[in-house]
Symmetry: C2
Amino acid sequence: MNNYRMTPQRRLILEELRKTKKHPTASEVYQLVRKNIPDISMGTVYRNLAILIKQGKIQRINNGSKKERYDGNPYEHFHIKCTECGRIDDLPEDLVENIKRNININFDYKITGYDLFFYGLCPDCKRRQEDKMEEKIPEKSKNYGSLKLQKLGKGED
Amino acid sequence: MNNYRMTPQRRLILEELRKTKKHPTASEVYQLVRKNIPDISMGTVYRNLAILIKQGKIQRINNGSKKERYDGNPYEHFHIKCTECGRIDDLPEDLVENIKRNININFDYKITGYDLFFYGLCPDCKRRQEDKMEEKIPEKSKNYGSLKLQKLGKGED
DNA sequence: TTAATAATAGTAACTATTATTAATAGTAAA
DNA sequence: TTTACTATTAATAATAGTTACTATTATTAA
């Protein structure tokens, strides 16, 4: 049960996850690997994703969606998700450094990990929204982010 | 479509969410409201949860689980989840203040919100684990949290 | 009072994920 | 090499959380 074999299917799944920066869902991984192994099954994809996570080679992203997303980078880094189209990118390192330096905990939980998740508009959607704004009478903008959590994306979920 | 009525079902769902600190799932909400309205249906619960979110009266919690959780507090605050039993609590305000003061963003996304999620052991599970440790020969502890994301809880998901 | 719209309970459908099954292929010991 | 063992696979069935649909009832607006 703990002597894993590196099968062609497993290797391909890992390679595809390492190649892309798109943080694909399970079925997106399935579509990718099917190009090289056409008769691979969804069950194989799910099973191997779970094994690769258990081995610490990839990670699952907590993205507040029903569809899990997977990341070929197993090391600590944070994500940002576009509330418009659902696209997920990595946050730049230097932006995270400030935050990490300032976590001091005196609290009755034993903290073993954390996940910092930003929501917003990716460059493309930001531009699209700015274009739309110009066609309208400007109204007082609802600015979340500073006072209120905003996690109701209109994106792909 | 945007003239909502405050029906008894909707009012009860909101009241129950405001009363509890347990961040219940949809079916837990269903169990709660069924005590007063025994013939309410799951569909009604889901529909009203969605409407209350749209109205900004409650929020859905991004908890990395298949089961969504709901929170009667619509204002910004952060959560911590026990990786052992899945319990979710609010993070103390003062712990978050440090972090918030240090987010300075120069990045091509328009950030409209964020979610900071901690993982760990709640007081009960922490004690249980410490008890278990005493029965074993102590081994070098695998300490995540500082260098590696840890989001593979063994809890209720 | 009439028409339009929201909301409801009940149920069916959907979808992401997990479990099962029978077959296959590496691996280790005899 | 044979044998037994175990990991893995494709295909398919099952599960579970959520959403959509349907007929009916309640509320609001004209």
